[in-house]
Structures are given as structure tokens and as C-alpha cells.
Symmetry: C2
């Protein structure tokens, strides 16, 4: 089933305790498309770049089955640029520079062929753009996944709530779930967020894994402990890409299949963090990925023993 | 198999976003003994109290199979007292008062009948006391579990390292594992901590669950999302108690059985936080506990699907 994905394609400059890279390829849409393309070849991309973005990167994605009809390249302008420095513990980061550049004028018009896509992945962007994309769909997609962040809750909550009301799956982190719902308990936060619209809530907790809430049921995907987390940038987008790629491929949006989709997302995220930029995501093969799925499985398996009380 | 447990019995005054309690029963040894006593009736307790500690509490534990020969009651002195206030998000807390009282002179002499216990649970205390208890054992116990905290790493690291070298299982939280090892990656932290002595490292992550490291293998126990976390005090000790109770009952210290033991610990911790003090731990039955073990199981189960690459 066809996937529509919208989000940034960008340059990142990143410093982590493991090193520093300058103007490497980044952006939500880039990570989502790379991760999804392992499972799916019918991906319609919507994004905007300046004339500084390497055409070779565009061609590589094309070669992986990504339709670029919805990619706008603006002449004489620069691509979106983000620079950040991670704290020593990697769990926090400071943004040093955000240059919107082409993103400031991003007002995507969906190509006709995109408007019947069944799976829609709205990468983290202003709610206005996310809403505009949804409004251009000719039919209600089978599944809409929304990624967002606290920044939009702070400055555009009303608009964000409009988008949230229209999606099936919301992916945010635990602090954002608490902020959005006003509830500290994630169980209560989930109930409240379901009432805003999304039938599925995915809470991404980084190294601690991810939680899926749906109709009173909960799934806890473990976080795979990684020897060397080099750079967490793009992990959330790789997660989203792996998940939507798997869902579109299997075309099954049941709770049960959503659980496996989250493992696919977690697997792609676990690879992503092992190097800067897309370096690790570019060179995966089936054997590596299946081995890691098995690692996720064995990580959480235990013998259920029901002792009688003493 | 007999359990020896050493730790505080105390009064706590606690404030959380859900309420405030004054001078309720607390202390590591109290929580450990209550949690363990569901699975095991041969528990030898070592602790110290003042004449203010209710004899009824002592009798209740006796009735649950806890041997009180190693409990010292000091006349004309007060029991250990701790007072704390949890932050709004419950993940942090400020200590308001620590009155050592009787604890300042605690120098436990093990009754003869205690000295051949096979399972030893060293609750969080000064490393000197933990070491003294271990040195009084007549035979090397089958399994020694050590709980400690960053406070002892800060002020008594050398002595703590002596204890750590003598134990089989160390339970600490993720920040403490990082502090103790000097490694950010928990995989590397575990390898380093194994080299200090303990064959098993358990990293307690509160609402995010727990990790078990052993000989290059990893188990991730999920954290059960709880609707109303009323008071996290004692959760780590309830975890330790549930775990050691299960281990002593089954008398099996394999990695596989240790995984189930961690689920037993997690189950007892999940009950503990649902009310202040020991209120919830006092009134559990087999049906409730087994149901919760099943909840932990279903929380992490997913269908393993190995798709071919697109």
C-alpha cells in the first residue's frame, strides 16, 4: 500500500561526546524515507530543499523506490539547517542554530498521484503544513501517523489539536504526552489523548523503549542497550519510517500488527544511533535486520512461573 | 532456602503530589521482608529500632515467618527517621530530614542461627555494616544481593568497592551505574561492573523497568504503567524483596530464573507504589499477584515477523 511522507530534508551540524560533524545530511523526511524503503518501494515524498542539497542524495532515494514528484527545489535558496550539541549524557541537547531557509515558505501542493495514498506519515513540522497535506487527500487514508513535539504545543496548540483530531496514531515522547494531556500518569495521559482523536498513542522513550496505548491495552517495546550510541539525531524519524514501512507492507493496522511495527521502528532507530547522519541506515541488509529483530525478542522473554503463596 | 536480610526499619514522612503522610512505617528491611514473605517463610531479619517503633509491626512480620532474633530495640532512643518530598513529576525527590537516631550506633551481631543462610539481601546501608554482616557468615552464601546508592559512592567508595567485590548481584539505578563505572553506555558500564565482582547487574529504572546484565546477556523487564502512582517510596526495596523471596523459594540462580525473579520484584514494586507506606503490600493475595505477573507477560509480547526486504 502506498505511503505518503512529508517532512524536512536538511543539513545538520552535530556535536556529541563521540565527535562532531558539520553540515551532514539530515531531516525527518530523509530518515523516514530511508528507514521505510527497506520494507516498501512505493513511497511518495513531500519536501523542500535549496540548491545546496546534493542531487546525489535525491537520486539515491529515487533508486530506493521513493517518488520525488513532490520534492520542491528552490533556486538561490538554502536548505533547512539545524545545529545542535548533545549533553554528556546524550539524553538532552541544546539547539545552537535553526535556519529555516526554504522551510519558511514551504506550502506543499500534493501531486495528483499522491492524493490517494493509504498510509500517511506526517513528519515533525508546523501543524499548518501537516493540516494542509491532510486536506489535500482525496480519500481518507487508511492510517495517518503524526509526529510532533513540545515546540508546537507551546506556540501553536490550537492548530496542533486540529491535526491531532484527524490522525490515527500520535507519536510523542513521555514529557510531551504529559504536557499535551496535563496528566502525569501515562495511563491517564493516553486516555485523554485518545479522546482528542488518535486511536493509537505511541510514547517514545529513547533508550528506555516505547509504549503503545490502544483501547485500554498497552504494549511496552524494550529499548535495546547499545554499546556505542554515537548520535541520537534521527532516531525518532527512523522509528517512524521503520514502522510505517512495515505497516504499509503488511497492510494491517490491528493492535497486534502495530506491536510488531513498533519493533520494526525500534530496530531501525537502534541502527540509526550507531553512527552520525544516515551512515548506518544506508548499509543494512536482511540478515542484520532479522538478527536485531531476534535480539528485541529475546530481550524481553521470560518464563512465566506462578508460585503459590508461602 | 533461608534468607538473611539486613537494612533499616524506620519512620517516614512523605509528601507526594497525591498527599502527605507523617511518621508512617518505612525502612528498606521492612519493605524487603514484607515483599519476600509472600514467597518465603524462613527470613532472618537484622535491623535496629528505637522504643518508638510499634511492637505490633514487629509482631505482624513475625506472623509472616520473619525471624526477629536479629532485631535490636534500643531503649530511650528513637528509630531512624526520613522525611522527603517528591517533585511534581515523581521522578525526583528532595530529602528534608534524615535523623539517624539508633542507626548511628548500628553494629549488627548475627545470631548463630543466621550465619548459614543461603540467600543474603543487603539493603541500602553504609558499606561498613554490609561488610560486617558478610564477614560474620560461616559459609559463603549461595547468593548475595547488594543494594546501594550514589550517596555511598560519593562518601565511602573504597569501602563500597570492597563490598561490591564480595557480592553476586548488584542493584542500582542507571545514573548510579554510570557513576560507578564511568561509562555512559549501560552495556559498557555492565562489563566494567562485572569486572568489579558481581556476576549479575540489575539496573532499576523506575517507571521505565529494569535491566539485567549477565555474561554478555541482557534481559529488559518492562515497567508496568500504573494509573495512580501515589508514593514511590520503598519500590526498590519491594523489588529486592520480591526477587530474593522468589529466588530463595525456587533455589535456582540461573540467568533464566533470575529473569523471572526480576518480574516477581517488578510485580511487588508495582503494588508498592499504589499507596503510601506498606498499605498496599499488606493486603495482596495470590490471585492479584498472578494476574499482575500475566500483565507483565502480555505487556512485552509481540509476533516476530521476518519480512524479506522490499
Amino acid at each position: 500500500m502506498s505511503i505518503l511522507t512529508v517532512g524536512t530534508m536538511a543539513f545538520d551540524s552535530i556535536e556529541t561526546p563521540y565527535g562532531k560533524v558539520d553540515k551532514v545530511i539530515g531531516g525527518a523526511c530523509t530518515y523516514i524515507s530511508w528507514a521505510a524503503s527497506y520494507w516498501h518501494k512505493d513511497i511518495s515524498l513531500v519536501s523542500i530543499i535549496g540548491d545546496d542539497f546534493p542531487q546525489d542524495e535525491v537520486e539515491q532515494l529515487k533508486a530506493r523506490g521513493v517518488n520525488m514528484e513532490g520534492l520542491v527545489r528552490v533556486p538561490n535558496k538554502k536548505s533547512f539547517y539545524w545545529s545542535g550539541k548533545y549533553h554528556k549524557d546524550m539524553n538532552g541537547r541544546d539547539t545552537l542554530v535553526t535556519d529555516l531557509n526554504v522551510l519558511a515558505d514551504f506550502n506543499p501542493i500534493l501531486p495528483q498521484s499522491y492524493r490517494k495514498c493509504k498510509y500517511v506519515m506526517l513528519g515533525n513540522l508546523t501543524p499548518d503544513i501537516q493540516l494542509s497535506v491532510l486536506n489535500q487527500m482525496e480519500e481518507r487514508p487508511k492510517l495517518v501517523v503524526l509526529d510532533t513535539m513540545n515546540f508546537w504545543m507551546d506556540i501553536a496548540l490550537e492548530r496542533l489539536m486540529e491535526v491531532i483530531a484527524k490522525v490515527d496514531v500520535l507519536t510523542i515522547n513521555d514529557e510531551e504526552a504529559r504536557q499535551l494531556s496535563g496528566e502525569h500518569s501515562l495511563v491517564k495521559a493516553a486516555a485523554k489523548i485518545h479522546s482528542f482523536g488518535p486511536k493509537f498513542l505511541i510514547i517514545k522513550k529513547g533508550e528506555h523503549g516505547a509504549l503503545l496505548f490502544h483501547e485500554g491495552k498497552i504494549f511496552f517495546a524494550p529499548g535495546l542497550p547499545i554499546s556505542d550510541v554515537i548520535d541520537p539525531t534521527g532516531a525518532g524519524d527512523s522509528f517512524a519510517g521503520g514502522m510505517i514501512g512495515y505497516l504499509a507492507r503488511t497492510n494491517d493496522t490491528s493492535f497486534n500488527n502495530m506491536k510488531t511495527a513498533i519493533i520494526y521502528g525500534s530496530v531501525m532507530a537502534s541502527f540509526c544511533v550507531e553512527d552520525f547522519s544516515l551512515s548506518r541506515l544506508r548499509h543494512l541488509d536482511e540478515k542484520m535486520i532479522h538478527a536485531r529483530i531476534r535480539q528485541f525478542e529475546s530481550l524481553g522473554l521470560f518464563d512465566v512461573v506462578e508460585l503459590n503463596l508461602a
